[in-house]
Protein backbone atom coordinates (compact mmCIF):
# COMPACT_ATOMS: atom_id res chain seq x y z
CA UNK A 1 0.00 0.00 0.00
CA UNK A 2 1.42 3.36 -0.93
CA UNK A 3 1.32 6.04 1.70
CA UNK A 4 -0.38 9.31 0.86
CA UNK A 5 0.95 12.29 2.81
CA UNK A 6 -1.52 13.58 5.37
CA UNK A 7 0.08 16.47 7.23
CA UNK A 8 2.12 17.74 4.30
CA UNK A 9 -0.43 17.20 1.53
CA UNK A 10 -0.88 20.96 1.10
CA UNK A 11 2.79 21.85 1.32
CA UNK A 12 3.81 23.89 -1.69
CA UNK A 13 0.21 24.59 -2.66
CA UNK A 14 -0.32 28.36 -2.27
CA UNK A 15 -4.10 27.84 -2.15
CA UNK A 16 -3.73 26.45 1.39
CA UNK A 17 -2.55 29.86 2.58
CA UNK A 18 -6.03 31.34 2.21
CA UNK A 19 -9.09 30.33 4.15
CA UNK A 20 -11.08 29.82 0.97
CA UNK A 21 -8.39 27.64 -0.57
CA UNK A 22 -7.97 25.61 2.58
CA UNK A 23 -11.71 24.97 2.71
CA UNK A 24 -11.71 23.85 -0.92
CA UNK A 25 -8.99 21.38 0.01
CA UNK A 26 -11.30 19.87 2.61
CA UNK A 27 -10.21 22.10 5.47
CA UNK A 28 -12.31 22.87 8.56
CA UNK A 29 -14.39 19.73 8.01
CA UNK A 30 -12.82 18.22 11.10
CA UNK A 31 -13.78 21.25 13.15
CA UNK A 32 -17.36 21.26 11.81
CA UNK A 33 -17.67 17.61 12.75
CA UNK A 34 -16.13 18.19 16.18
CA UNK A 35 -18.59 20.97 17.01
CA UNK A 36 -21.47 18.51 16.60
CA UNK A 37 -19.87 16.07 19.05
CA UNK A 38 -19.76 16.01 22.83
CA UNK A 39 -16.35 17.36 23.94
CA UNK A 40 -15.63 14.13 25.83
CA UNK A 41 -16.32 12.07 22.74
CA UNK A 42 -13.59 14.01 20.91
CA UNK A 43 -11.12 13.31 23.68
CA UNK A 44 -12.06 9.62 23.51
CA UNK A 45 -11.54 9.56 19.74
CA UNK A 46 -8.10 11.16 20.03
CA UNK A 47 -7.18 8.77 22.82
CA UNK A 48 -8.33 5.83 20.73
CA UNK A 49 -6.25 7.00 17.76
CA UNK A 50 -3.11 6.49 19.84
CA UNK A 51 -1.76 9.94 18.84
CA UNK A 52 1.38 10.63 20.84
CA UNK A 53 2.99 14.05 21.27
CA UNK A 54 5.24 14.97 18.37
CA UNK A 55 7.31 17.49 20.29
CA UNK A 56 9.67 15.08 21.97
CA UNK A 57 8.17 13.30 24.94
CA UNK A 58 5.69 11.15 23.02
CA UNK A 59 2.93 11.39 25.63
CA UNK A 60 -0.63 10.42 24.65
CA UNK A 61 -2.38 13.58 23.43
CA UNK A 62 -5.88 12.36 24.31
CA UNK A 63 -4.80 11.42 27.81
CA UNK A 64 -3.26 14.86 28.29
CA UNK A 65 -6.55 16.47 27.29
CA UNK A 66 -8.48 14.23 29.68
CA UNK A 67 -6.49 15.60 32.64
CA UNK A 68 -8.13 19.00 32.25
CA UNK A 69 -10.71 19.38 35.01
CA UNK A 70 -14.33 19.79 33.98
CA UNK A 71 -16.41 22.70 35.20
CA UNK A 72 -16.35 26.39 34.56
CA UNK A 73 -14.92 27.88 37.73
CA UNK A 74 -11.67 28.82 36.01
CA UNK A 75 -10.78 29.77 32.44
CA UNK A 76 -8.86 27.11 30.53
CA UNK A 77 -6.09 27.55 28.01
CA UNK A 78 -4.44 25.81 25.12
CA UNK A 79 -0.84 26.79 24.49
CA UNK A 80 0.42 25.50 21.17
CA UNK A 81 4.13 24.81 21.41
CA UNK A 82 5.61 26.31 18.26
CA UNK A 83 8.94 27.05 19.92
CA UNK A 84 10.71 24.57 17.65
CA UNK A 85 14.30 24.88 18.89
CA UNK A 86 15.65 21.34 19.17
CA UNK A 87 18.76 21.37 16.99
CA UNK A 88 18.04 19.44 13.81
CA UNK A 89 14.29 20.11 13.90
CA UNK A 90 12.55 22.17 11.23
CA UNK A 91 9.28 20.31 10.59
CA UNK A 92 6.88 22.61 12.47
CA UNK A 93 8.13 25.62 10.51
CA UNK A 94 7.19 23.81 7.30
CA UNK A 95 3.67 23.13 8.60
CA UNK A 96 3.12 26.71 9.75
CA UNK A 97 4.54 28.36 6.65
CA UNK A 98 2.67 26.13 4.21
CA UNK A 99 -0.58 25.16 5.88
CA UNK A 100 -1.39 27.62 8.68
CA UNK A 101 -5.11 26.84 8.80
CA UNK A 102 -4.41 23.16 9.45
CA UNK A 103 -2.78 24.23 12.71
CA UNK A 104 -5.54 26.70 13.58
CA UNK A 105 -8.13 23.97 12.97
CA UNK A 106 -6.26 21.51 15.20
CA UNK A 107 -6.02 24.16 17.93
CA UNK A 108 -9.73 24.97 17.64
CA UNK A 109 -10.75 21.31 17.95
CA UNK A 110 -8.53 20.85 21.00
CA UNK A 111 -9.96 23.99 22.62
CA UNK A 112 -13.52 22.78 22.06
CA UNK A 113 -12.66 19.32 23.44
CA UNK A 114 -11.26 20.70 26.69
CA UNK A 115 -13.60 23.75 26.66
CA UNK A 116 -10.81 26.29 26.57
CA UNK A 117 -11.81 29.67 25.23
CA UNK A 118 -8.31 31.08 24.75
CA UNK A 119 -5.40 29.68 22.76
CA UNK A 120 -1.89 31.09 22.54
CA UNK A 121 0.42 29.91 19.81
CA UNK A 122 3.85 30.34 21.36
CA UNK A 123 6.16 30.64 18.36
CA UNK A 124 9.91 31.04 18.63
CA UNK A 125 11.00 34.62 18.02
CA UNK A 126 13.20 33.72 15.06
CA UNK A 127 10.25 32.37 13.04
CA UNK A 128 9.11 35.77 11.81
CA UNK A 129 7.89 34.48 8.45
CA UNK A 130 5.78 31.71 10.00
CA UNK A 131 4.40 34.18 12.56
CA UNK A 132 3.35 36.59 9.81
CA UNK A 133 1.65 33.79 7.85
CA UNK A 134 -0.19 32.63 10.97
CA UNK A 135 -1.27 36.20 11.77
CA UNK A 136 -2.78 36.54 8.31
CA UNK A 137 -4.56 33.19 8.66
CA UNK A 138 -5.90 34.20 12.09
CA UNK A 139 -7.23 37.46 10.71
CA UNK A 140 -9.05 35.65 7.93
CA UNK A 141 -10.43 33.07 10.34
CA UNK A 142 -11.80 35.79 12.63
CA UNK A 143 -13.36 37.68 9.73
CA UNK A 144 -15.10 34.53 8.50
CA UNK A 145 -16.42 33.58 11.93
CA UNK A 146 -14.22 30.49 12.16
CA UNK A 147 -12.83 32.02 15.35
CA UNK A 148 -14.24 34.58 17.76
CA UNK A 149 -17.50 34.88 19.62
CA UNK A 150 -19.17 31.92 17.91
CA UNK A 151 -16.95 29.36 16.19
CA UNK A 152 -18.66 28.43 12.89
CA UNK A 153 -21.93 29.61 14.39
CA UNK A 154 -21.87 26.99 17.14
CA UNK A 155 -22.02 29.44 20.03
CA UNK A 156 -18.60 28.23 21.24
CA UNK A 157 -16.37 31.23 21.92
CA UNK A 158 -12.68 31.03 21.07
CA UNK A 159 -9.90 33.62 20.94
CA UNK A 160 -6.55 32.74 19.46
CA UNK A 161 -3.33 34.77 19.60
CA UNK A 162 0.23 34.51 18.38
CA UNK A 163 2.81 35.01 21.12
CA UNK A 164 6.40 35.43 19.94
CA UNK A 165 9.23 34.08 22.05
CA UNK A 166 12.59 35.81 22.22
CA UNK A 167 15.23 33.16 21.71
CA UNK A 168 15.52 30.59 24.49
CA UNK A 169 15.51 26.82 23.95
CA UNK A 170 14.23 26.23 27.46
CA UNK A 171 10.92 27.89 26.56
CA UNK A 172 10.09 24.75 24.59
CA UNK A 173 9.80 23.01 27.96
CA UNK A 174 6.15 23.13 29.01
CA UNK A 175 6.45 25.13 32.19
CA UNK A 176 9.34 27.26 30.94
CA UNK A 177 6.98 28.20 28.13
CA UNK A 178 4.22 29.14 30.57
CA UNK A 179 6.60 31.35 32.55
CA UNK A 180 7.70 33.01 29.34
CA UNK A 181 4.09 33.50 28.21
CA UNK A 182 3.44 35.24 31.50
CA UNK A 183 6.26 37.69 30.80
CA UNK A 184 9.00 36.13 32.92
CA UNK A 185 12.37 34.48 32.47
CA UNK A 186 11.64 31.05 31.01
CA UNK A 187 12.66 29.01 34.02
CA UNK A 188 10.75 25.73 34.39
CA UNK A 189 8.44 25.25 37.35
CA UNK A 190 8.37 22.61 40.03
CA UNK A 191 5.94 19.81 39.12
CA UNK A 192 3.43 18.86 40.42
CA UNK A 193 1.17 20.72 40.04
CA UNK A 194 1.12 19.88 36.34
CA UNK A 195 -0.08 22.42 33.76
CA UNK A 196 -3.35 20.50 33.33
CA UNK A 197 -4.27 21.71 36.82
CA UNK A 198 -2.21 24.88 37.33
CA UNK A 199 -0.92 26.12 33.99
CA UNK A 200 -1.05 29.50 32.27
CA UNK A 201 -2.14 32.31 34.60
CA UNK A 202 -2.90 29.73 37.31
CA UNK A 203 -5.51 27.97 35.18
CA UNK A 204 -5.79 24.47 33.65
CA UNK A 205 -3.75 24.38 30.45
CA UNK A 206 -3.07 21.95 27.64
CA UNK A 207 0.29 22.30 25.89
CA UNK A 208 0.68 20.51 22.57
CA UNK A 209 3.24 20.63 19.80
CA UNK A 210 2.38 22.01 16.33
CA UNK A 211 2.62 18.65 14.55
CA UNK A 212 0.54 16.95 17.24
CA UNK A 213 -2.28 19.46 16.78
CA UNK A 214 -2.04 19.26 12.98
CA UNK A 215 -2.90 15.56 13.22
CA UNK A 216 -6.15 16.28 15.04
CA UNK A 217 -8.35 17.52 12.14
CA UNK A 218 -7.49 14.34 10.20
CA UNK A 219 -8.37 12.10 13.14
CA UNK A 220 -11.75 13.82 13.29
CA UNK A 221 -12.50 13.59 9.56
CA UNK A 222 -11.12 10.11 8.92
CA UNK A 223 -11.52 8.48 12.32
CA UNK A 224 -9.31 6.92 14.96
CA UNK A 225 -9.36 3.52 13.21
CA UNK A 226 -7.88 4.98 10.03
CA UNK A 227 -5.18 6.70 12.11
CA UNK A 228 -4.36 3.47 13.94
CA UNK A 229 -4.04 1.60 10.66
CA UNK A 230 -0.88 3.64 9.96
CA UNK A 231 2.30 2.86 11.86
CA UNK A 232 4.22 0.06 13.55
CA UNK A 233 1.84 -1.15 16.27
CA UNK A 234 -0.97 0.13 18.49
CA UNK A 235 1.44 2.30 20.49
CA UNK A 236 3.11 3.91 17.49
CA UNK A 237 0.40 5.18 15.19
CA UNK A 238 -0.21 7.73 12.49
CA UNK A 239 1.80 9.72 9.99
CA UNK A 240 5.06 11.27 11.18
CA UNK A 241 7.30 14.03 9.96
CA UNK A 242 11.02 13.33 9.89
CA UNK A 243 13.44 16.22 9.49
CA UNK A 244 16.64 14.89 7.94
CA UNK A 245 19.83 16.92 7.82
CA UNK A 246 23.59 16.60 7.88
CA UNK A 247 25.40 14.36 5.42
CA UNK A 248 22.54 13.37 3.12
CA UNK A 249 22.04 14.31 -0.51
CA UNK A 250 18.55 15.76 -0.11
CA UNK A 251 18.00 17.08 3.40
CA UNK A 252 14.42 18.02 4.16
CA UNK A 253 11.18 17.21 5.92
CA UNK A 254 9.67 13.90 4.85
CA UNK A 255 6.36 12.39 5.90
CA UNK A 256 6.11 8.64 6.42
CA UNK A 257 4.04 6.20 8.44
CA UNK A 258 5.65 6.24 11.87
CA UNK A 259 8.19 3.44 12.17
CA UNK A 260 9.77 3.61 8.70
CA UNK A 261 13.21 1.94 8.82
CA UNK A 262 16.08 4.41 8.94
CA UNK A 263 17.71 2.76 5.91
CA UNK A 264 14.66 3.43 3.76
CA UNK A 265 14.46 7.02 4.97
CA UNK A 266 18.12 7.56 4.10
CA UNK A 267 17.63 6.11 0.60
CA UNK A 268 14.65 8.35 -0.02
CA UNK A 269 16.72 11.36 1.02
CA UNK A 270 19.09 10.52 -1.80
CA UNK A 271 21.55 8.51 0.28
CA UNK A 272 24.75 9.76 1.83
CA UNK A 273 26.14 13.16 0.86
CA UNK A 274 28.58 12.83 -2.06
CA UNK A 275 28.57 9.04 -1.72
CA UNK A 276 30.10 9.02 1.77
CA UNK A 277 29.86 6.18 4.26
CA UNK A 278 27.47 6.30 7.19
CA UNK A 279 29.28 6.53 10.51
CA UNK A 280 26.57 7.46 12.98
CA UNK A 281 23.22 9.20 13.24
CA UNK A 282 21.12 11.03 15.77
CA UNK A 283 17.51 9.81 15.51
CA UNK A 284 15.68 12.50 17.46
CA UNK A 285 17.39 15.85 17.77
CA UNK A 286 20.27 17.10 19.88
CA UNK A 287 18.94 15.47 23.05
CA UNK A 288 18.95 11.96 21.60
CA UNK A 289 21.90 9.63 22.19
CA UNK A 290 23.89 8.93 19.01
CA UNK A 291 23.42 5.58 17.27
CA UNK A 292 26.17 3.81 15.31
CA UNK A 293 25.86 2.87 11.62
CA UNK A 294 25.16 -0.73 12.67
CA UNK A 295 21.66 0.44 13.67
CA UNK A 296 20.83 1.35 10.07
CA UNK A 297 17.83 -1.01 9.95
CA UNK A 298 16.15 0.41 13.03
CA UNK A 299 12.44 1.20 12.80
CA UNK A 300 11.96 4.87 13.53
CA UNK A 301 9.16 4.76 16.09
CA UNK A 302 9.06 5.83 19.75
CA UNK A 303 9.47 2.42 21.35
CA UNK A 304 11.95 0.78 18.96
CA UNK A 305 14.32 3.76 19.14
CA UNK A 306 14.00 3.82 22.95
CA UNK A 307 14.84 0.12 23.11
CA UNK A 308 17.98 0.78 21.07
CA UNK A 309 19.13 3.23 23.74
CA UNK A 310 18.14 6.51 22.17
CA UNK A 311 14.89 8.38 21.57
CA UNK A 312 12.70 9.43 18.68
CA UNK A 313 12.27 12.84 20.32
CA UNK A 314 11.28 15.38 17.70
CA UNK A 315 12.31 12.95 14.91
CA UNK A 316 15.10 15.27 13.81
CA UNK A 317 17.52 12.91 12.13
CA UNK A 318 21.09 14.15 11.84
CA UNK A 319 23.26 11.98 9.62
CA UNK A 320 27.06 11.90 9.93
CA UNK A 321 29.54 10.34 7.51
CA UNK A 322 33.00 8.89 8.11
CA UNK A 323 34.70 12.30 7.91
CA UNK A 324 32.82 13.49 10.99
CA UNK A 325 34.66 13.92 14.26
CA UNK A 326 32.16 12.71 16.84
CA UNK A 327 34.07 14.33 19.69
CA UNK A 328 33.72 17.64 17.94
CA UNK A 329 30.04 17.01 17.19
CA UNK A 330 29.24 16.21 20.80
CA UNK A 331 31.35 19.15 21.98
CA UNK A 332 29.14 21.37 19.82
CA UNK A 333 25.97 19.90 21.30
CA UNK A 334 27.35 20.34 24.81
CA UNK A 335 28.10 23.96 24.07
CA UNK A 336 24.47 24.32 23.07
CA UNK A 337 23.12 22.80 26.28
CA UNK A 338 25.52 24.84 28.38
CA UNK A 339 24.31 28.00 26.65
CA UNK A 340 20.65 27.05 26.98
CA UNK A 341 20.63 25.79 30.57
CA UNK A 342 18.44 28.31 32.38
CA UNK A 343 20.76 28.25 35.39
CA UNK A 344 18.12 27.43 37.95
CA UNK A 345 19.33 23.98 39.05
CA UNK A 346 22.97 23.60 40.05
CA UNK A 347 23.62 20.12 38.54
CA UNK A 348 22.54 21.27 35.08
CA UNK A 349 24.03 24.79 35.23
CA UNK A 350 27.45 23.62 36.43
CA UNK A 351 27.46 20.17 34.84
CA UNK A 352 26.76 21.33 31.29
CA UNK A 353 29.59 23.83 31.59
CA UNK A 354 32.09 21.21 32.74
CA UNK A 355 30.98 18.82 30.01
CA UNK A 356 31.60 21.45 27.36
CA UNK A 357 35.05 22.26 28.76
CA UNK A 358 36.05 18.60 28.95
CA UNK A 359 34.84 17.83 25.46
CA UNK A 360 36.65 20.84 23.98
CA UNK A 361 39.80 19.66 25.70
CA UNK A 362 39.36 16.16 24.27
CA UNK A 363 38.61 17.54 20.83
CA UNK A 364 41.85 19.48 20.76
CA UNK A 365 43.91 16.48 21.82
CA UNK A 366 44.49 17.78 25.32
CA UNK A 367 42.33 15.19 27.04
CA UNK A 368 43.30 12.50 29.51
CA UNK A 369 42.42 8.84 29.77
CA UNK A 370 40.42 9.53 32.93
CA UNK A 371 38.19 12.06 31.16
CA UNK A 372 35.78 9.34 30.04
CA UNK A 373 35.02 8.37 33.61
CA UNK A 374 34.90 12.02 34.59
CA UNK A 375 32.29 12.71 31.89
CA UNK A 376 30.21 9.75 33.04
CA UNK A 377 30.45 10.99 36.64
CA UNK A 378 29.15 14.40 35.63
CA UNK A 379 26.34 12.73 33.68
CA UNK A 380 25.28 10.74 36.72
CA UNK A 381 25.21 13.90 38.82
CA UNK A 382 23.03 15.75 36.30
CA UNK A 383 20.65 12.92 35.41
CA UNK A 384 17.37 13.10 37.31
CA UNK A 385 18.67 15.91 39.50
CA UNK A 386 17.13 18.95 37.92
CA UNK A 387 13.60 20.32 37.61
CA UNK A 388 13.15 19.78 33.89
CA UNK A 389 14.40 17.49 31.15
CA UNK A 390 17.15 19.77 29.83
CA UNK A 391 19.78 18.24 32.08
CA UNK A 392 18.81 14.73 31.03
CA UNK A 393 18.82 15.83 27.41
CA UNK A 394 22.32 17.26 27.77
CA UNK A 395 23.80 13.98 28.99
CA UNK A 396 22.25 11.87 26.18
CA UNK A 397 24.80 12.60 23.46
CA UNK A 398 27.72 12.69 25.92
CA UNK A 399 26.99 9.27 27.40
CA UNK A 400 26.56 7.76 23.97
CA UNK A 401 29.93 9.15 22.89
CA UNK A 402 31.73 7.60 25.85
CA UNK A 403 29.79 4.33 25.80
CA UNK A 404 29.60 3.68 22.06
CA UNK A 405 32.45 5.55 20.45
CA UNK A 406 35.21 5.43 23.07
CA UNK A 407 37.94 4.23 20.65
CA UNK A 408 37.53 7.48 18.71
CA UNK A 409 37.84 9.55 21.88
CA UNK A 410 40.86 7.51 22.91
CA UNK A 411 42.53 8.18 19.57
CA UNK A 412 42.30 11.92 20.32
CA UNK A 413 43.97 11.33 23.67
CA UNK A 414 46.65 9.01 22.34
CA UNK A 415 47.61 11.12 19.34
CA UNK A 416 47.16 14.37 21.26
CA UNK A 417 45.33 15.87 18.31
CA UNK A 418 42.10 15.56 16.41
CA UNK A 419 42.66 12.88 13.75
CA UNK A 420 40.10 14.52 11.47
CA UNK A 421 40.73 17.47 9.16
CA UNK A 422 41.14 20.48 11.39
CA UNK A 423 38.55 23.17 11.42
CA UNK A 424 38.24 26.20 13.60
CA UNK A 425 35.88 25.93 16.53
CA UNK A 426 33.69 28.96 16.96
CA UNK A 427 32.66 30.91 19.98
CA UNK A 428 33.68 30.87 23.58
CA UNK A 429 31.25 29.89 26.32
CA UNK A 430 27.93 31.44 25.54
Amino acid sequence: MTFEPVLTKNVGNPAALTLKGYRQLGGYEGLSKALLMEPDAIIEEVKKSGLRGRGGAGFSAGLKWSFIPKGKDKPKYLVCNADESEPGTFKDRLLMENDPHQLLEGCAICCYAVQASTCYIYIRGEYTKAAAILERALKEAYEAGVLGSSVLGSGFKLDMYIHRGAGAYICGEETGMLESLEGKRGQPRVKPPFPAVVGAFGSPTVINNVETLCNVPHILTRGADWFKSIGTDEKNTGPKLYAISGHVERPGTYEYPIGIPFREMLDKAGGMYKGGTLKAFIPGGASAPILPAAQIDIKMDFDTVAKAGSMLGSAAVIVMDETTCLVRSVARLSKFFNHESCGQCTPCREGTNWMELLLKRLEHGEGREADGQLLLNICSHIGGNSLCALGDAAIGPVKSLVDRFWPEVEQHIREQRCPFPQRRYFGNGS
Partner: protein
Amino acid sequence: MSVSEPKVTSPGLPPAAKAELDEVRKRYPTTEAALLPALHIAQRAWGGWLPDEAIAAVAAELDLPTSKVYGVVTFYDLYHQKPVGRYRIRVCTNLSCQLRGCEEIMETLHEELKVPEDEVTPDGRCSYIHFECLGSCDTAPMMMVNDDYYENLTPERVRHILRGFK
Protein backbone atom coordinates in the same frame (compact mmCIF):
# COMPACT_ATOMS: atom_id res chain seq x y z
CA MET B 1 15.77 49.88 54.52
CA SER B 2 14.72 50.40 51.00
CA VAL B 3 16.96 49.96 48.01
CA SER B 4 16.32 52.44 45.28
CA GLU B 5 16.92 51.66 41.65
CA PRO B 6 19.22 53.88 39.65
CA LYS B 7 17.13 56.43 37.84
CA VAL B 8 17.27 56.45 34.09
CA THR B 9 15.65 59.31 32.26
CA SER B 10 13.59 57.95 29.45
CA PRO B 11 11.58 59.74 26.81
CA GLY B 12 9.11 56.84 27.00
CA LEU B 13 7.85 54.73 24.12
CA PRO B 14 7.31 56.60 20.86
CA PRO B 15 3.56 57.09 20.15
CA ALA B 16 3.36 54.46 17.39
CA ALA B 17 5.06 51.86 19.60
CA LYS B 18 2.79 52.75 22.48
CA ALA B 19 -0.29 52.34 20.29
CA GLU B 20 0.94 48.94 19.12
CA LEU B 21 1.58 47.85 22.69
CA ASP B 22 -1.85 49.03 23.84
CA GLU B 23 -3.38 46.74 21.22
CA VAL B 24 -1.21 43.75 22.19
CA ARG B 25 -1.94 44.12 25.92
CA LYS B 26 -5.58 43.25 25.37
CA ARG B 27 -4.57 39.69 24.52
CA TYR B 28 -3.47 38.82 28.04
CA PRO B 29 -5.19 38.60 31.41
CA THR B 30 -2.17 40.19 33.15
CA THR B 31 -0.10 43.27 32.32
CA GLU B 32 3.14 41.42 32.89
CA ALA B 33 2.36 38.93 30.10
CA ALA B 34 2.74 41.76 27.59
CA LEU B 35 6.42 42.14 28.53
CA LEU B 36 7.95 39.98 25.78
CA PRO B 37 5.93 41.64 23.00
CA ALA B 38 6.61 45.05 24.59
CA LEU B 39 10.35 44.44 24.43
CA HIS B 40 10.12 43.35 20.80
CA ILE B 41 8.25 46.57 20.03
CA ALA B 42 10.70 48.73 21.99
CA GLN B 43 13.70 47.08 20.37
CA ARG B 44 12.32 47.92 16.95
CA ALA B 45 11.67 51.50 18.02
CA TRP B 46 15.25 51.89 19.30
CA GLY B 47 16.91 50.60 16.13
CA GLY B 48 17.48 46.97 17.01
CA TRP B 49 18.71 47.10 20.58
CA LEU B 50 17.56 48.00 24.07
CA PRO B 51 19.49 50.81 25.75
CA ASP B 52 18.68 51.54 29.39
CA GLU B 53 16.18 54.19 28.38
CA ALA B 54 14.22 51.64 26.34
CA ILE B 55 14.16 49.24 29.26
CA ALA B 56 13.01 52.06 31.54
CA ALA B 57 10.30 53.04 29.06
CA VAL B 58 8.91 49.49 28.95
CA ALA B 59 9.06 49.21 32.74
CA ALA B 60 7.15 52.47 33.15
CA GLU B 61 4.61 51.54 30.51
CA LEU B 62 3.82 48.17 32.11
CA ASP B 63 4.29 49.40 35.68
CA LEU B 64 6.97 46.82 36.39
CA PRO B 65 10.24 47.25 38.33
CA THR B 66 13.13 48.06 35.99
CA SER B 67 15.11 45.22 37.57
CA LYS B 68 12.42 42.74 36.57
CA VAL B 69 12.45 43.95 32.95
CA TYR B 70 16.23 43.85 32.95
CA GLY B 71 16.12 40.25 34.20
CA VAL B 72 13.93 39.26 31.27
CA VAL B 73 16.04 41.15 28.73
CA THR B 74 19.19 39.33 29.83
CA PHE B 75 17.52 35.92 29.70
CA TYR B 76 16.61 35.93 26.00
CA ASP B 77 19.00 35.84 23.05
CA LEU B 78 16.92 38.05 20.78
CA TYR B 79 17.12 41.13 23.01
CA HIS B 80 20.32 43.06 22.62
CA GLN B 81 21.95 45.38 25.08
CA LYS B 82 24.47 46.88 22.75
CA PRO B 83 24.10 48.44 19.32
CA VAL B 84 23.79 46.17 16.31
CA GLY B 85 24.40 46.82 12.63
CA ARG B 86 21.57 47.88 10.32
CA TYR B 87 22.05 44.38 8.96
CA ARG B 88 22.12 42.10 11.96
CA ILE B 89 23.56 38.76 10.85
CA ARG B 90 23.07 35.56 12.85
CA VAL B 91 24.89 32.50 11.58
CA CYS B 92 23.59 29.13 12.69
CA THR B 93 26.54 27.10 13.96
CA ASN B 94 24.76 24.16 15.53
CA LEU B 95 25.51 20.59 14.52
CA SER B 96 23.66 20.30 11.19
CA CYS B 97 25.20 23.54 9.95
CA GLN B 98 28.59 22.56 11.37
CA LEU B 99 28.46 19.35 9.34
CA ARG B 100 27.84 21.40 6.20
CA GLY B 101 30.45 24.12 6.69
CA CYS B 102 29.23 26.98 8.85
CA GLU B 103 32.85 27.74 9.84
CA GLU B 104 33.61 28.94 6.33
CA ILE B 105 30.61 31.22 6.56
CA MET B 106 31.82 32.75 9.82
CA GLU B 107 35.32 33.12 8.37
CA THR B 108 33.98 34.80 5.25
CA LEU B 109 32.01 37.30 7.32
CA HIS B 110 35.08 38.04 9.38
CA GLU B 111 37.23 38.56 6.29
CA GLU B 112 34.70 40.73 4.49
CA LEU B 113 33.46 42.85 7.38
CA LYS B 114 36.84 43.13 9.12
CA VAL B 115 35.37 43.36 12.61
CA PRO B 116 35.29 40.68 15.30
CA GLU B 117 32.10 38.80 16.03
CA ASP B 118 29.38 40.88 17.72
CA GLU B 119 30.93 44.23 16.81
CA VAL B 120 29.43 46.73 14.40
CA THR B 121 31.31 47.82 11.27
CA PRO B 122 32.47 51.47 11.55
CA ASP B 123 29.82 52.58 9.03
CA GLY B 124 27.08 51.00 11.18
CA ARG B 125 26.11 48.70 8.35
CA CYS B 126 26.63 45.15 9.66
CA SER B 127 27.27 43.07 12.74
CA TYR B 128 27.42 39.30 12.90
CA ILE B 129 27.20 36.67 15.57
CA HIS B 130 27.12 32.87 15.77
CA PHE B 131 23.78 31.53 16.85
CA GLU B 132 22.07 28.35 17.99
CA CYS B 133 19.89 26.24 15.67
CA LEU B 134 17.58 28.44 13.58
CA GLY B 135 15.41 25.57 12.36
CA SER B 136 16.61 25.49 8.79
CA CYS B 137 18.93 22.48 8.91
CA ASP B 138 17.84 21.23 5.50
CA THR B 139 19.33 24.33 3.90
CA ALA B 140 22.58 24.34 5.88
CA PRO B 141 24.69 26.33 6.15
CA MET B 142 22.40 29.29 6.66
CA MET B 143 22.18 32.67 8.30
CA MET B 144 19.44 35.03 9.36
CA VAL B 145 19.75 38.71 8.48
CA ASN B 146 17.28 40.87 10.40
CA ASP B 147 14.06 38.90 9.74
CA ASP B 148 15.12 36.98 6.64
CA TYR B 149 16.71 33.59 6.14
CA TYR B 150 19.58 33.17 3.67
CA GLU B 151 20.06 29.50 2.91
CA ASN B 152 22.38 26.99 1.20
CA LEU B 153 25.28 29.39 1.68
CA THR B 154 28.75 29.26 0.23
CA PRO B 155 31.51 31.80 0.89
CA GLU B 156 30.94 33.16 -2.61
CA ARG B 157 27.21 33.58 -1.99
CA VAL B 158 27.86 35.31 1.32
CA ARG B 159 30.15 37.82 -0.43
CA HIS B 160 27.45 38.42 -3.01
CA ILE B 161 24.78 38.94 -0.33
CA LEU B 162 27.00 41.38 1.57
CA ARG B 163 27.50 43.46 -1.56
CA GLY B 164 23.75 43.98 -1.67
CA PHE B 165 23.62 45.43 1.85
CA LYS B 166 23.79 49.21 1.60
